[in-house]
Amino acid sequence: MSLDKMKRREFLKVLGWGGVGTTLAGCDMPTTVTVQEGEEEVVAYLAPEEYVIPGIGVWYATTCAQCGSGCGVHGRVREGRVLKLEGNPDSQVNRGKLCQAGQASLQAHYNPDRITAPRVRRNGQLETIGWDQALALLEEKVGPSSGLAGERFAWVTDTVSGHQAVLLKAWMEAVGSRHHYVHEAVNDAVWRAVCRDMLGDENPRLRIDKARVILSFGADFLSTWGSTVQNSARYAEFRTAPRGVLVQAEPKMTVTGANADLWVPVRPGAEGVLALAIANRLAAEHGRDLSKLPADVQQQVRAYDIDKAARITGVSAEHIARIAALLNERAPSLVLAGTPAEGHARGYDNVAAAMLLNIVLGNVGKTLESGAGFPFPQLAAKTGGNRELLDFAAALESKSFDVVFFKGANPVYTAPEALKLKEKLAGVPFKVAFTQFEDETAQQADLVLPLRSMLEDWGTHVPTAQPEQMLISLQQPLMEPLYPETRGFGDALLALLKLRKAPQYAAYDDYYAYLRNAFAALPATLKQGAISDQQFWTRAVQKGVIEVGAGSGSLTARVAAFTVAEPADQGRPYTLVPSAGANLHDGRYANLPWLQELPDPISKVVWDSWAEMHPITAAKIGAKTGDRVRIESDHGAIEAKVYIYKGMHPDAIAVPLGQGHEAYGRYAQGRGVNPLKILGLATETKTGELAHHATRVQVTRIADKVGDKLVKLGGSEAQLGRKLVATVTADVYARTEGEA
């Protein structure tokens, strides 16, 4: 009976019965049965540890392995199950904070789509087998009896560090292969190359906290670029009094851009010109001395006065002048350049022009510090970019490998369609995937080996960006493995090594034993205060990190040769911005429902892809919010719903990364589109990185919104008089709050 059809009399009847029920309930007539007795099992401990109390959680330290940042984690364990993660305050990487991907790693652990036993391809299908069979197969295919030369083996991984990296390297040396491709689709590879060439250190420490003004060319350092939790803590210090000023120049507003005091939309690829124009203004208006720069660089700076640069970059001369004035008056400053600046044919030169500003403004050594001096280089994080993906594909083209191992990376998903990676992989006789999930790459594998989750495994991690006090972060299992037929990555590597170097590794029953031995072998200077190796180990496990001292080293400021190019908009009318977000990153978190459910901070869209464009662009295309558009490059087309937002350059169309999975479990599969698929294969000239922000596209509206809505939180971008953000005019402020 629906409410509007309910008559008054019936309404009173229902009300009357309700009243009787209330009276009875007041005298405790059991009206409902609560929970059935004798249905559920309750199993006590056999002999618990003294400190274990059912119902009360115990927090253990471990390390987050969701990305390479190596944040320390505390996990609450109750009744043998890990229930909640928080940042470990003892880790100077994240100082007690944890990002959404770290929080959601619980869902990678308890995910219903985890692979629970090894699978082997027979007659085209993946069939479940036991580990003994899997190991026998490995021995046959990759052991010494395979008769394969070392160069016929390759590994494709995401960022690896710690003792896992040591074991992997040991295996590579044991077989005699050099082909370890570290592939990260979202990376800072070009920035690193510029830092290496101009500062003498490819991974300088970004002292965001020390800067008084930051100019960022699309470096989304709060959300996707670098060690974001570490950056955020430094950013909080940067914003405390005296409050630092943040200027962000980029084609699509990122989370960092949304936090900026001044956000300027810059024409895609014109970041280098903008940086040169700022240098020009610094010299012309503020008397900065550029005479020590190489002649060709001086010439380039002279070539772009602010008016000319305004025409090229789309940033007004007034804004350029204002940014230059800010940089001049507030020292020290920090200039960063991220993905949108890097991803062009002349991306290196864009980033180099930004780095030039750091040199001109004297930031090197102040807000850019040397990150060198980590005493255990063999443990240091080994990271990479897209060049490794292109190199790998080229090697496949020439049939270089007989066996390829995959771990962490999902190149079949992250490779552009034009690379034809899937087809090329078919030519590799034996492919092994170490993974927790059946992703696109695992689907192509001949042997799929199920890994333990990060909450079930041992390991050590060295952060990609070390804090001032450098550290090694220890990962320990927080609970028994959910599935007995899974193995830790370290254990799997040991098993592989035992096939080749049995005498050397026979002493280690498992990876735990190996780690204990490795910790015992650490230099005595690290163990000060511990009376034994056992105590040192126990302390390390309790604390979760071992501090190894401050780094040493200094940066050089040397302007490398570079030539900034103006963007040449050829072919199709718009530039595609494949934008990364903190929720799904490069797509690796798409199978975690919490992160799918978490609205994108800018568009508020959940569980879907969208095409983000400026109102002017939308008007040109004739599309309204929610309309479907077809985005077509030379290499394919994708369709997505339109989201109109002013935080875009009118020449750019942004499609977020992370969706469009063809596999990867029930939460990821068949949802949205993957913009990486339609990227062209143009590369960055100096580094060979993929020019991922240089693909030109045509956008056409294909349908109205009918029934198929863009699902997003927040119905309206307008405040509708609700005073969500209170504002006051300058003269009123001066009258009421200002100084007399």
């Binding site: 007041g26 007539m29 059935q36 119902g55």
Partner: protein, 217 residues
């Protein structure tokens, strides 16, 4: 706390009457009086039960006839708690420390039964489990839905440790509020409804917290 003791020191508290009906806005005094009469009348048969052997406490009201739950070992609560007078919290040691009372770990059983009554068939069964290094899979008798937060610790604190007039040896009287006469049972059987009304009547009578989020959080 002293206020609560003054209010409920006698055995003559009627939980049904404690609703301050006259204070409800919009109710005429006649209606209030009528409601009072109805409440008194309806609760009269239960009033005898309201008395308790626990000082400074009014037990919750209601009964429930639970089914027999076959357990892997027929554990005799009566032999332990009644005949031998073992305190409930000796085995359910977590009750005063945690939200759950906890099933005692097998090691606890074996603490005594490696020497006591080792010839009895149930103890032989227990020893078998112990030697297999496997705890028995008991079946849950008392349970609450997941959206209810109940903590043993706070209840034991209120009725036992913050209640100096109740010797801790008599804690079983407090346990019986919600678990019934376990002392007289072998394996436990549900004797109390454990419904929201059941909880509410006790919270009302003993001036317990009354915010929704105290239990539904």
């Amino acid at each position: 706390m002293s206020g609560i003791r003054q209010l409920f020191s006698g055995r003559w508290s009627f939980p049904g009457v404690r609703i301050p009906v006259g204070e409800r806005a919009g109710l005429s005094s006649t209606a209030g009086f009528l409601a009072l009469v109805v409440a008194l009348f309806a609760c009269a048969p239960l009033a005898a039960q309201a008395g308790s052997t626990v000082p400074n406490a009014v037990p919750p009201e209601g009964t429930y006839s639970g089914k027999d739950v076959p357990q892997p070992i027929e554990f005799p609560h009566d032999i332990h708690a009644k005949i031998n007078g073992i305190n409930c919290m000796y085995c359910h040691t977590y009750a005063r420390r945690s939200k759950v009372a906890g099933i005692p770990p097998t090691s606890k059983c074996m603490g005594c039964h490696s020497v006591i009554a080792t010839d009895k068939p149930r103890i032989k069964q227990l020893t078998e489990y112990w030697e297999k290094r496997e705890p028995p899979h008991w079946l849950k008798v008392h349970d609450l839905p997941d959206f209810v937060h109940f903590t043993h610790e706070k209840h034991i604190k209120r009725f036992v440790f913050d209640n100096p007039e109740l010797p801790v040896e008599q804690v079983s009287e407090v346990c019986a509020f919600c678990h019934g006469d376990i002392k007289d049972m072998t394996v436990a059987k549900k004797q109390k409804p454990l419904t929201m009304g059941f909880c509410r009547s006790c919270h009302e009578a003993n001036n317990g917290p009354f915010d929704c989020w105290k239990c539904h959080k």
